[in-house]
Symmetry: C2
Subunit: 148 residues, 2 copies
Amino acid sequence: MRMTALPPPWDSVDDRLRARGLRWTPQRATVIEVLAEADGHVSGAELVERCRLRDPSTIPSTVYRTLDVLEELGLVRHGHGPDGREEFHVRPVEEHGHLHCAECGNSWELGNERAAAVADALRATDGFEIDIGHVTLVGRCRDCAAGA
Amino acid sequence: MRMTALPPPWDSVDDRLRARGLRWTPQRATVIEVLAEADGHVSGAELVERCRLRDPSTIPSTVYRTLDVLEELGLVRHGHGPDGREEFHVRPVEEHGHLHCAECGNSWELGNERAAAVADALRATDGFEIDIGHVTLVGRCRDCAAGA
DNA sequence: CTGTCTATTGCAACGTTTCGCAATAAGCCT
DNA sequence: AGGCTTATTGCGAAACGTTGCAATAGACAG
């Protein structure tokens, strides 16, 4: 039924799972297919919904457990949006963070170099290596701060 | 039934509510009493549980709604723990952040001055005024980073 | 003290995510 | 192809929060 082969890094997931004593199942294949088409950010609920589109018998807990496994393989990373809900970084091409303005509600990405400045500040004071992509930093953007 | 008056800033909450056209109710009094004894950090679930101890008829949604109101008055601030769950900063004596090591699971507070370094780094690059207390920064602590 | 206005409550249902457990089915060996 | 082992699944329940709505009850004016 599948017309095209999955693009890397998704093409060899089945072998990588088996190499670890884990198993390749149709449910996992569904999640992988959805992820392969979803580069960027997706919430857990979105992922479940898209899987259900392909396979109406999809069970949420299976999706979440598959995501856990894929995170161990390094294929996705989970983080948390401004409201604390789960958010998955798919195929993280580049490390980046997220900013969210509590006043106007807008969000921005925090690119590599600028994220590095934050990471450096923490490393210098605490020796702490922050995972900048894990949480959404909340505060007020330049414009809202100026207006208040 | 209450033996002692509430300490500031809790002593005049009723008047401050009324001054805004809001109301002083027994349910809100219960939440205030619990908060007055809980300086520091408390999760939403803990707050509900402690309220239920005083008043078994406590309803969760009422507690959460009261917390929203108190946040508007500036008496509490909500944030998110490493797992994204809600966490309330009660009577924030000093602004501070939180660090959590994903490897060893320990957590630390990020005091005023060190938090300022992070805030400065962001302000310099984006003009973004971070609310450092809102989220728990996740990463690896000095020891875990060294060991890996 | 009574009446009016509307903020708040209680309740029930929902959304997101996690967990335990018994049944199923991958993977592998012969 | 058949059998064994155990990773996964499906399912139900639970934890944490949020939301809509009708009923209740603060606050204030007269």
